[in-house]
């Protein structure tokens, strides 16, 4: 029976009071619903927008990239104690260098919690030649399966089948167009040998196109040639070596912290996608801050709305509060009657607001289309976000009720009855 006793009186009176001021109650519930709908919709919209932006950006790169440290010029001798040395140092030209011990590093990285995929890559510059066409290109030597787990390469194939046997290559769509390549065609790849351009020697290899890919960015499509690791290693004069190790992590926002940890652990350069896309990150952060501000302002409006209605209600119900107090309702009971009203208005408004938000999202995804006739980006209201917004609004309802409830509880029964 305890569940019936608990707040039974307060509950009944709160509901009666709300029903008595029906239009007032309905209006404020609609107000809360509008606030909750706006917050939930904006949250879903921004989350969808950010997820789509992130997916587009991170689709073509690893979340964390390990490279060998830059070559630096070390001074010949330490300066004399107490003396100051002035020096002008010419920075060194950076040659391709392998990540040391990368074969041993792979299993260690793969076993690190939070890292979901690891892919070694050797990359360098070269020329793609076919007939009279010469295009500069970026040569990426990868293990196809591992690389696919980083950038989802197979999903980006626009024609052909992604396959990287010896002497095979996957080529960016625009580059193929520029070279006049179709599936199965061969083209030459020419690179400077390990000695650099100064030696004058070049390495050339003929590759056969197995697939064309659209990497999402035209610039990349114009110069990407993806070849087997070994082929690229020999073309770039880095036998057995890789120039970088790409990683994918489960929580993209943790990438920066994980990169920092990797830098401390290994004598390697570890860069997160955040460091490589600082402008994007600050744009996303600005969006998140704006969303938070909008949420905050809307919630303040909701609190003020509920509070003002309840303040009026306390004035209107002074007489009834006086009767209840005379009959033996304690101050705490009266307090709870009004807190419950805040809770009820907040939760009913939240429920209505979530329905409204779902309707708005449906309208957005159904009627707002991009130039290609497809939805701009997917927006959904995750259950957790919806519940979170509803919970915050409900708590706001209770908070809004605190001041009016205290006023009601403080009413002097003798005075309230006389009115």
């Amino acid at each position: 029976m305890n569940w019936r006793r608990w707040l039974g009186f307060e509950w009944r009176v709160a509901v009666k009071f709300l029903r008595e001021g029906r239009s007032q109650t309905l209006l404020i519930i609609l107000g809360v619903a509008a606030g909750v709908a706006v917050v939930a919709y904006i949250s879903a919209l921004i989350t969808g927008l950010q997820a789509s932006t992130l997916a587009k950006t991170l689709g073509a790169q690893g979340h964390i990239t390990l490279r060998s440290l830059d070559d630096v010029v070390l001074s010949a001798a330490a300066p004399e104690p107490g003396s100051t040395r002035l020096a002008e140092v010419q920075p060194r030209a950076q040659r391709l260098r392998s990540v040391i011990n990368w074969q041993l590093l792979l299993p260690v990285l793969e076993a690190t919690p939070g890292i979901t995929a690891v892919s070694p890559m050797v990359s360098g510059a070269g020329l793609a030649l076919r007939g009279e066409a010469v295009q500069s290109m970026a040569l990426l030597g990868v293990d196809l399966d591992r690389y696919d787990r980083i950038v989802g390469l197979r999903g980006k194939v626009v024609s052909g089948t992604a396959r990287l046997g010896p002497g095979e290559a996957i080529v960016g769509r625009e580059l193929a167009h520029d070279l006049g390549l179709r599936l199965g065609d061969r083209f030459s790849v020419q690179t400077a040998s390990a000695g650099g351009t100064s030696s004058g020697a070049t390495v050339t290899e003929v590759l056969r196109v197995t697939a064309l890919v659209d990497l999402g960015v035209k610039d990349l499509n114009e110069r990407t040639v993806i070849a087997p690791l070994r082929t690229a290693q020999s073309l770039l004069g880095l036998p057995g070596g890789v120039t970088q190790v790409d990683m994918r992590v489960s929580d993209v926002w943790q990438a920066s912290a994980m990169a920092r940890e990797l830098r401390q652990r290994y004598p390697l350069k570890a860069e997160s996608w955040q460091e490589n896309n600082a402008q994007l990150v600050s744009a996303l952060n600005a969006q998140s801050v704006s969303t938070a501000i909008i949420r905050g302002v809307v919630m303040v409006v909701v609190v003020l709305g509920i509070a003002s209605v309840l303040v009026v209600s306390v004035v209107q119900k002074r007489h009834e509060i006086g009767i209840l107090r005379a009959m033996g309702a304690t101050r705490r009971q009266v307090l709870r009657v009004f807190l419950l009203q805040g809770l009820l208005v907040g939760s009913l408004g939240s429920a209505a607001g979530l329905l409204l938000a779902v309707a708005m999202i449906w309208l957005f995804t159904t009627f707002v289309r991009g130039s290609d006739g497809l939805p701009l980006f997917a927006i959904t209201l995750p259950l957790a976000t919806g519940l979170n917004v509803a919970l915050v609004a409900t708590v706001c309802g209770v908070i809004a009720a605190i001041a009016p409830a205290r006023r009601a509880a403080a009413l002097d029964p003798a005075q309230a009855i006389r009115l």
């Binding site: 029976m1 009186f9 009767i323 209840l324 005379a326 009959m327 033996g328 309702a329 304690t330």
Partner: protein
């Protein structure tokens, strides 16, 4: 709590004992005014007392202090043998709930609740829910005040006299030791007023509840057993009246 009928109307136990009760308003301010100037009064269990006095004499203030709605400034007030002076708000509220019933001049029902809900409100307030037994008891009370047919009506659908009868049923729902009535018939026409008064006497006769009734109407006062008259915050007269032997009117 009293049980019906079996309790003798005046069994000699003091229900209320006032000693030197004073009540001032605006205490410590230039406008300080003392309304009750040291009252001594005893009311025994089962008495039916009329409290009279001109306007501004302090009878409503006395009723509020007795009803634990206002605090006394000084003196002693024992209710059911327990000193009330110095109790905190919560203590006063709980004693109000357990021991007292109120009937006000303007009936003061809760407009959003039906007649039956108004009568079960004290039980709901105390227990957090209304048991079937309590609901049945409330129906009996409504029947006793002649409103069996009106249990689902809201106060606005009832006449003034009917509302006052609902208020009386509510006041006695938890069988309080003392019912305080502030001009319970002041707002009613003569016929209704006589009916309501008869109802109070009937409940007194059946349940042995103690009544303290503020009234301006000498004819109604004469139907009580004892008359206490207050003038200028002092008790001017305190004597048995009417049949005086304590018989119901």
């Amino acid at each position: 709590m009293t049980s019906p009928v079996s309790i003798p109307h005046t069994n000699g136990q003091p229900l209320i004992r006032l000693r030197g009760l004073r009540k001032s308003y605006n205490l410590g301010q230039p406008a300080e005014v003392e309304v009750l100037h040291g009252l001594d009064l005893e009311v025994k269990r089962g008495e039916f007392v009329a409290l009279m006095g001109p306007s501004g004499s302090g009878k409503s203030t006395l009723l509020n202090v007795l009803g634990l709605l206002e605090r006394m400034t000084s003196g002693s007030y024992e209710l059911l043998g327990e000193e009330m002076n110095g109790l905190h708000d919560e203590g006063l509220t709980l004693r109000r709930r357990r021991a007292l019933g109120f009937v006000f001049q303007f009936h003061h029902l809760l407009p959003a609740f039906t007649a039956l809900e108004n009568v079960t409100l004290p039980a709901l307030m105390t227990e957090g829910f209304v048991s079937e037994a309590q609901r049945a008891h409330a129906r009996e009370l409504l029947a006793a005040v002649g409103l069996a047919h009106a249990e689902h009506k809201r106060p606005a659908e009832l006449s003034g006299g009917m509302q006052q009868r609902v208020a009386i049923a509510r006041a006695v729902a938890l069988k309080p030791a003392l019912v305080l009535a502030d001009e319970p018939t002041g707002n009613l026409d003569q016929a209704s007023s006589s009916d309501v008064f008869s109802l109070l006497r009937q409940i007194h006769a059946e349940q042995g509840t103690t009544f303290l009734i503020v009234t301006h109407d000498p004819r109604l006062a004469s139907r009580c057993d004892r008359l206490v008259e207050i003038v200028d915050g002092r008790i001017e007269r305190d004597e048995p009246i009417g049949a005086a032997a304590g018989q119901p009117a």
